[in-house]
């Protein structure tokens, strides 16, 4: 096994990314889909920070990740509010049942 370096972090990030994607694709419940999105953002953040350490040695990557965290927080709050509204309207948060507009 080689010493841990950039590649390890990138592979880890890729793995977390596809797991998050899997949650987004396969879960019925909207809240779980939201969790998948958070995981995807985290995978991207690992990439940012890994590059900021191994490739570009100033802190640009970390700062970018910081802004990603800020945006994720805002997104989670708004998304949950929307989910709660959907629940109020349809008594369910399953994405496959939210098909009022489907023809």
């Amino acid at each position: 096994m080689m010493a841990v370096g950039l590649h390890h972090f990138l592979v880890l990030s890729a793995l977390l990314f596809v797991l998050g994607l899997l949650a987004v694709i396969t879960k019925k419940n909207a809240v779980t889909v939201l969790m998948g999105i958070e995981l995807i953002l985290n995978a991207a953040n690992i990439n940012f920070i890994a590059f900021s350490r191994y490739v570009d040695t100033d802190l640009d990557g970390q700062l970018f990740a910081l802004f990603v965290i800020i945006t994720a927080a805002a997104a989670a709050a708004v998304a949950l509010a929307i989910v709660l509204n959907i629940y109020k309207q349809m008594r369910s948060v399953n994405l496959d049942e939210a098909d009022t507009l489907a023809g």
Binding site: M1, A3, V4, G5, L6, H8, F9, V11, L12, A14, L15, L16, F17, V18, L19, G20, L21, L22, A23, I25, T26, K27, K28, N29, V31, T32, L34, M35, E38, L39, N42, N45, I46, I49, A50, R53, Y54, V55, T57, L59, Q62, A65, L66, F67, I69, I70, T71, A72, A73, A74, A77, V78, L80, A81, I82, V83, L84, Y87, R91, D96
Partner: protein, 165 residues
């Protein structure tokens, strides 16, 4: 295998296992707990990468904020008294195939790209540098981010409040 590598594997395996638990568990609360541990492990990964401030921010925002929020969301949006908090899955097989394919592509790209790797230096405290950069060249993004948060706060509070008729 040294100290750094050991820690990396502990956190990496922790992150992947708990993320897997999040994806494959049918119980919503288990999903949330899986996400919690995955996020905490990612914070550990940040520490390994010398991003101490970000790791603490990660814990604070995700664990203290987003996961708690998600748990509230789950409990408010499911008729959970008497019924178990379960979620079904859709298109599991095609999903798995696509995910596996994408993962292979990403790994291929990671290993085939010639990264301009610099030998990382000593891990220095990042907090004051981050603070200074935010207050100088990143001032405008920072202000916009604060306005975004304010807007999200007001918007979320407005949408989630009880209708008064």
């Amino acid at each position: 295998m040294n100290y750094f590598d050991l820690t990396f594997y502990v956190f990496a395996i922790g992150a992947v296992v708990s993320a897997g638990m999040m994806v494959f568990s049918r119980n919503l609360i288990y999903c949330a707990v899986g996400l919690l541990f995955a996020l905490a492990s990612v914070a550990g990964i940040y520490v390994l990468l010398g991003a101490d401030f970000l790791a603490a921010t990660q814990l604070m925002v995700y664990v203290g904020g987003i996961v708690a929020l998600l748990l509230f969301g789950i409990m408010l949006s499911v008729k959970f008294t008497g019924v178990e908090l379960r979620t079904g899955t859709l298109q599991m097989l095609p999903g798995l195939m696509i995910a596996a394919g994408l993962f292979l592509l990403l790994v291929r790209m990671v290993f085939r790209t010639e990264w301009a790797v610099n030998q990382p230096g000593e891990m220095l405290p990042t907090t004051s540098t981050i603070g200074k950069r935010i207050m100088t060249d990143l001032l405008i993004p920072f202000e916009i981010a604060s306005i975004l948060l304010l807007v999200a706060l007001i918007g979320a509070a407005y949408m989630a409040r009880r209708e008064r008729t």
